[in-house]
């Protein structure tokens, strides 16, 4: 069971990484427009 002493802190760290990642994604507007960006590559410049 010694491995739990490593895994539990890792799991806690992972929670913060996930929350931080989600926070970053929302703040930088990754979810602002789900339709448009996919078709942007098809447009001519």
């Amino acid at each position: 069971m010694e491995i739990a002493f490593l895994l539990i802190p890792l799991a806690v760290l992972l929670v913060f990484v996930i929350l931080g990642g989600l926070w970053w994604a929302i703040q930088t507007g990754q979810f602002e427009d789900l339709e448009e960006e996919g078709s942007r590559i098809l447009e001519q410049d």
């Binding site: 799991a11 806690v12 929670v15 996930i18 427009d33």
Partner: protein, 769 residues
């Protein structure tokens, strides 16, 4: 047809029509200054005909061409374009003109900052909820082993590690998710009031402090039990309620702003040199001469100077027919110019206009309403005090024997009394109903409306658009026997084809339905505002025939027949009456059944209308309504409702026009039918989308059912507290059981509320009090 002497004023000024936007005060309304530079602005505009990715691409290209535009982002999904531009190098009119050139006319999104503020608020609440729930799940995983294991099963340092992990995971919940409760509790304490948030916050803080001490300094008088699981679960449950509440309020909040946008942004003003220039509507002064084209809205109160027209004042005065406006007549801001272009002299602007007076009237009428929310808070106060006293009592009772047990018992009281179940009891049921209603096409603006509607004993209906269709029903009452009936219908169709008047449009539709052709050769067609139309036709025998179509006075009919119809229209040639048509209002399909059901359930139904008395009485008789009142202006209706309220009645107002706005705001509660104008929707407590009046019956009965479930929930919470508090004070309730009890009672309340998601829209719901 009134001919206006002036050519297109835009051509005369040869200016960019968007020039009005180039004033900073004007562009500030749809732009935000960039944080980095004072000259860089971010604007949001609305392009209505942007439908696809190709459109948005072209739009971005067109705006980018403009020198000084730094970035463009067009989204076809939301029909919005975001433009970042430098005020030193370009101005909005330039890129607005670019958009116009490629066929995508844009509108400034004036309310953008308000919308984005609301979205930000809602998203922040959701984000708090996500953090709380996510952390709660992790904390639960570390709490789970301690629930089921014996104290000897796990190594002490493993238990300690799990406590530390739980503490770290609880930090975001305390510091971020729970802040609304903590800050609101603090605010209410500063105002020397005891809100629902105070015990909630005390419970959160006490549990957190005790758990923290137990984690980092176990073995003190505070013991070594941690409550992180109860704490995070508690906060998550509470946040779900808050988030749903914010979401619901935002959905309808935009409506008032829409109404304020009714006035134009820019107008054409005659300058000193006699030229027409475009200025921002905010810069209109008393005495200015403005040019108003048909289809536009008057930006200010004033007098018609040149030309004559008719105006649609229905939103402001309740007058459903166009009002004739010859030279010298008064026009009001917010009314629509219907038939022809005029010049007007401004007499009143902004705050002084009737339009603003009406908007203010609505605002003040709505603040007079008793706040049911405040009332509920007051009723809850004694309970909240009792909870706090019980907690304090527990501390005193145990302190001398065992300080740890004292604090733990107090926390157990705070946790077990579960302001959660109590504070969820009402909103959970109401939100469940609100969600159900929303799916069924009924939007709720204030949750308290559910309670208000369950208590009403009188319903006051507005007529047009509520009980009747907005469309007018036409019938050919008589036609001259010597003339071919089909030819007469052709004449009616051809004459009414080019008029915008609602009656003419109803006639046109009627004639076409009866296989008429509207392609007869029409000569000398003229429309006389407030009278009718005249034209010359070639009769079937080849003779030229001058025909008039209009009201009795216009057609020279002196002995107009009495009729229940709303209005009669005549077709004459010379002295000969060719045809008589009646226009009447059509009762909505389910109106009669709905009214009789409402009466059967003991509600007093009344009808108020601005129309003539005879048709109103006639309609009332048709529907079985005993009390009907015609010729009611907005002020009369308000008076009537206030009188009913003085008699101690609880009045539900069902209306749809803006003239009902003050009445809707003053009534105990109100429902707007969906074809109403946005402002009324914003003021009414509920909005029924679609035109089905039958929904009303099941709506009222579902509201009563909701309140019944609220009462059950409150009763359950009260019983649970009555049992739990003594046990907690006596120290017989372990902390985990208190937490479990809290969760179970909340769950029961939520499950009970879920019964409300089933809404049978067909008539009065059976099987309830």
């Amino acid at each position: 047809m009134v001919h206006h002497p002036m050519a297109n004023p835009l051509a005369a000024s040869s200016a960019n029509p968007w020039q009005g936007l180039d004033i900073q005060s004007e562009w500030e309304r749809f732009s935000q200054r960039d944080a980095s530079s004072a000259e860089v602005w971010t604007s949001h505009v609305w392009v209505d005909n942007m439908h696809c990715a190709a459109c948005s691409g072209r739009i971005e290209q067109a705006i980018k061409q403009q020198h000084g535009v730094l970035a463009v982002q067009a989204s076809a999904a939301s029909k919005r374009v975001r433009v970042v531009w430098d005020a030193k190098q370009t101005s909005p009119s330039h890129w607005f003109a670019n958009l116009n050139e490629i066929g995508y006319p844009a509108l400034p999104l004036n309310e953008y900052s308000a919308i984005s503020d609301r979205t930000v608020q809602q998203r922040k609440m959701l984000w708090r909820l996500v953090v709380a729930v996510f952390c709660m799940m992790q904390v639960m995983m570390y709490a789970y082993p301690t629930y089921w294991s014996d104290s000897n099963d796990m190594a002490p340092d493993m238990v300690q590690l799990m406590k530390w992990a739980s503490w770290v995971l609880t930090l975001p919940v305390m510091l971020f998710s729970a802040t609304p409760f903590l800050s609101q509790a603090w605010a209410s304490i500063k105002q020397r009031q005891l809100g629902m948030d105070v015990p909630v916050s005390l419970g959160i803080l006490a549990a957190f402090i005790m758990s923290t001490l137990a984690t980092f300094a176990p073995g003190g008088w505070w013991g070594d039990v941690v409550y992180y699981d109860s704490l995070t679960m508690f906060v998550s449950f509470l946040l779900i309620g808050r988030w749903l509440d914010v979401k619901l309020r935002n959905r309808t909040a935009g409506a008032l702003e829409n109404m304020m946008r009714r006035l134009p942004h820019a107008v054409l003003k005659k300058d000193a040199a006699g030229e027409w220039v475009q200025i921002a509507a905010t810069n209109i002064n008393v005495g200015d001469v403005l040019y108003v084209r048909p289809g536009e809205v008057f930006a200010a109160d004033g007098l018609v100077l040149v030309g004559s027209t008719s105006a649609d004042e229905s939103m402001l005065t309740g007058e459903s027919e166009p009002v004739l406006k010859p030279a010298g007549a008064k026009v009001i801001a917010g009314a629509g110019n219907l038939t022809s272009a005029i010049e007007m002299q401004v007499e009143q602007v902004g705050e002084g206009t009737q339009y603003h007076a009406l908007v203010n009237l609505m605002a003040s009428a709505s603040t007079e309403k008793p706040g049911i929310a405040l009332l509920a808070d007051k009723v809850a106060q004694p309970f909240l005090w009792a909870v706090l006293l019980a907690a304090v009592y527990a501390v005193f009772f145990w302190w001398s024997t065992d300080p740890a047990k004292a604090i733990m018992s107090a926390v157990a009281v705070l946790v077990v009394t579960c302001p959660c179940a109590l504070s969820l009891a009402t909103p959970a049921a109401m939100l469940a109903s609100a969600g159900t209603f929303a799916k069924g096409g009924v939007l709720i603006r204030r949750l308290q409306a559910i309670q208000a509607i369950s208590e009403i004993d009188t319903i006051v209906f507005d007529k047009t658009g509520t009980l009747t269709e907005n469309l007018q029903q036409v019938a050919l009452a008589e036609s001259h026997a010597a003339w071919d009936r089909q030819w007469l219908l052709d004449v009616i169709a051809s004459m009414s084809r080019d008029s915008l008047h609602p009656v003419a449009q109803a006639l046109h539709g009627f004639a076409l339905q009866h296989d008429a052709q509207d392609q007869l050769v029409v000569q000398d067609w003229q429309e006389i505002v407030g009278g009718g139309m005249s034209a010359t036709f070639s009769a079937p025998n080849g003779a030229l025939l001058p025909v008039k179509l209009g009201n009795a006075e216009f057609c020279g009919i002196s002995d107009e027949l009495e009729s229940d119809a709303l209005r009669q229209v005549y077709v004459t040639t010379g002295e000969i009456l060719l045809a008589r048509l009646t226009l009447s209002e059509q009762v909505k399909p389910h109106a009669k059944a709905a009214i009789s059901q409402l009466i059967a359930h003991g509600l007093d139904i009344q009808l108020l209308s601005g129309d003539r008395i005879a048709p109103v009485k006639n309609l009332a008789a048709q529907l079985g309504i005993a009390r009907a009142f015609g010729l009611q202006k907005a002020a009369d209706k308000l008076q009537h409702v206030k009188l009913l309220q003085q008699q101690g009645r609880k009045v539900l107002m069902v209306g749809d026009g803006l003239n009902d706005g003050p009445v809707i705001a003053a009534a105990h509660t109100s429902i707007a039918m969906g074809s109403g104008v946005p402002l009324t929707q914003a003021q009414a407590d509920m909005v029924v989308l679609g035109n089905d009046i039958g929904v009303l019956v099941s709506l009222i009965s579902h509201c009563q059912k909701t309140i019944l479930i609220v009462k059950q929930n409150l009763l359950w919470a009260a019983l649970y507290n009555a049992a739990g508090v003594p046990l907690a004070i006596m120290g017989l309730l372990p902390a985990w059981l208190a937490g479990l009890g809290m969760a179970a009672s909340s769950l029961l309340v939520l499950l009970n509320a879920l019964r409300l998601t089933d809404w049978d829209k067909s008539g009065w719901q059976k099987g309830q009090a």
